[in-house]
Amino acid sequence: MIEAARFWAIVVLVVAGLFFTFVSAVGVIRLPDIYARAHTASQTDTLGAGLALAAVALALGWQQASVYTVLLLFFVFITNPTAAHAIARSAAETGIEPVTADSAADGDTREPSTASTDRNSSDDDGGSDVDGGETA
C-alpha cells in the first residue's frame, strides 16, 4: 500500500517536473526578449528541477544519497535566481532595451487588459513618469 503510494507520488512528481521544464523550454523559445525569457528560463525551470529532484529523493528513500539530493535542491533554489539576476543585470548594463507592453502592442493584437489601458496615457510621454492610478 505504502509502496503503491510512493510509486504514484514519484510518477506524479516526475510528470510535473517534466511539465514545468517543458513550459520553460517553450518560454525560452517563444518569449520576445531576454528579460521575459529569464522569467521562465530560471524560475519555471527551478520548479521543474525541484520536482524532479524531489522524485529522485523519494525513490532513493532514507539513505545517504537522498541527503545529496536535498543539497542539490537547495543549491538549485539558491543559485538559479542569482544567476538569472546576474544575467538580466548584465543585459541591462550592456544596454539591451526590454520589450514592454506598449512597444509589443504595436505589432501584435492582444486583448486589452485594464492595466494596460490606464497606463498608456502616462507612459507614452517620456517613459519614466509616475502613474497616478497605480501609486496613489
Binding site: 520576445p32 521575459a36 539576476h85 494596460s116
Partner: protein, 345 residues
C-alpha cells in the same frame, strides 16, 4: 594660476589620515593652490538621538582633518571647507552617497573626488553596485588615495564576544554540514569533522559574516526563515501555474513592464533576501538594485499586482524584524511602487 578643487569624503577608518595627506599632496602636484572640501556623510538624519551623537562625532573628525590639512600644506596656498552631509535625508547605499556627492560637487564646482579605499558608507551588499561604480556612472572623476592599507580582514574583526560568536556559529554550521555529508554515528567522521570545522571557523569566520550576529536575534531569525520557506515555495508554485497557462496559450497574452519598487528594508541581507525571493517567483524578475529601489521586470499583470501588494516584502520583514514589523502598508498604498519605462534600467 591653476586651482585644484577636491572633495574628500571622510569616515573613521584606519586610513583616513593618509587619505587626507594624499589629497593635499596630489592636489598640489599639478596646481598652485588647492581648495579641499572635507565632508562626512551620515546615514541617519540628525533628528533622532543617535543621529545627534553622530553629528557630534562627524564634527570632531572634521576639525581633526582640518588640522591635518594645514599641517600637510605647509606654506602652500590651501583653503579648507568642511561640511556634514545627509542630515536631511536617509542615505541607504552607495547610490544615495554618490547622489549626495554629485550634488555637493555641482554646488561647489569641484573638479574631483579623492576616495579613501577603506571608505564603505551605508549598506553594502553583493547585489548593489560599489560606490566607485556609482560615481563613475554619475560622471564624477574620482581618485583612489594611494595609502598603505592593513590586511583587509582586520576591519571585520570585532570585539571579543562578537568574534567568539562568529567562530561559534561557523563552527557548528560547518560541523553540521560535514556530518550531513558523512555519517553522524561513526567516530572517525565525528573526530575529523571537529578538526575540519575548527580549521574552517578559524580561517574563514572573519569573512563569512559581513553582518553583526546577535545571540538571540540570529537563531530566532533562522527559525522564522524556516517558516518563510514553505510560504515562499507555495507562492512559487502558484505563480508558476499562472505563468504556465499564459505561456502555453497560443495567443501568449504577456504584458512585459518594467516597474520600480522602493523596498522598506533596513540592511543588505534583507534586501538580498527580498530581491532573490522576487526573482524566484515567476512573473517578477529583479533586474537591478539601486540601493533599496528595486527595478523589477514583470511579465503578467497578476504578478505585478502581487508585487505591488507587497506580500513578499512583508514576509521578509517578518523574518528579519519580527511580527510587528510585518504590518506595514503595501508598496502601492505607500506610493513606493510605480511603472517605469525601459530607460530606467
Amino acid at each position: 594660476m591653476v586651482a585644484d578643487r577636491t572633495l574628500v569624503p571622510l569616515s573613521e577608518t584606519v586610513t583616513v589620515r593618509q587619505t587626507v595627506g594624499y589629497a593635499v599632496q596630489s592636489g598640489l602636484e599639478d596646481a598652485d593652490s588647492l581648495e579641499v572640501h572635507l565632508v562626512v556623510a551620515l546615514p541617519y538624519d540628525a533628528e533622532v538621538p543617535e543621529g545627534k551623537q553622530q553629528v557630534e562625532e562627524a564634527k570632531q573628525l572634521l576639525s581633526k582633518a582640518r588640522r591635518w590639512v594645514t599641517e600637510d600644506a605647509g606654506s602652500a596656498d590651501v583653503t579648507v571647507e568642511t561640511a556634514v552631509l545627509g542630515t536631511e535625508r536617509y542615505l541607504f547605499g552607495p547610490r544615495d552617497y554618490a547622489d549626495i556627492f554629485e550634488e555637493y560637487t555641482d554646488d561647489h564646482d569641484l573638479d574631483r573626488v579623492v576616495l579613501d579605499p577603506e571608505y564603505h558608507p551605508g549598506v553594502t551588499s553583493s547585489i548593489l553596485q560599489p560606490l566607485e561604480h556609482e560615481l563613475e556612472s554619475a560622471g564624477i572623476p574620482y581618485d583612489e588615495a594611494a595609502v598603505e592599507r592593513p590586511a583587509r580582514h582586520e576591519r571585520l574583526v570585532g570585539e571579543g564576544t562578537e568574534r567568539f560568536d562568529r567562530y561559534f556559529a561557523l563552527f557548528w554550521i560547518s560541523f553540521g554540514f560535514y556530518l550531513v555529508l558523512g555519517d553522524p554515528t561513526y567516530w572517525f567522521d565525528l573526530v575529523t569533522g571537529v578538526a575540519v570545522a575548527g580549521i574552517v571557523s578559524f580561517s574563514l569566520a572573519n569573512v563569512t559574516f559581513s553582518f553583526p550576529l546577535h545571540r538571540i536575534g540570529s537563531p530566532v531569525r533562522t527559525i522564522r526563515f524556516a517558516f518563510y520557506v514553505p510560504y515562499l515555495i507555495w507562492e512559487i508554485v502558484k505563480a508558476n501555474v499562472a505563468i504556465s497557462f499564459v505561456i502555453l496559450r497560443p495567443s501568449m497574452p504577456i504584458e512585459p513592464v518594467v516597474t520600480r519598487v522602493n523596498a522598506r528594508v533596513r540592511s543588505g541581507l534583507p534586501l538580498l533576501a527580498l530581491a532573490n525571493s522576487i526573482t524566484l517567483t515567476p512573473g517578477t524578475l529583479t533586474v537591478r538594485a539601486n540601493d533599496q529601489r528595486l527595478i523589477v521586470h514583470t511579465l503578467i499583470p497578476s504578478a505585478r499586482e502581487d508585487l505591488f501588494d507587497g506580500a513578499l516584502e512583508r514576509a521578509v520583514r517578518f523574518v528579519f524584524h519580527g511580527r510587528t514589523s510585518a504590518r506595514i502598508p503595501s508598496p502601492r498604498e505607500r506610493g513606493d511602487a510605480e511603472i517605469v519605462g525601459g530607460d530606467e534600467l
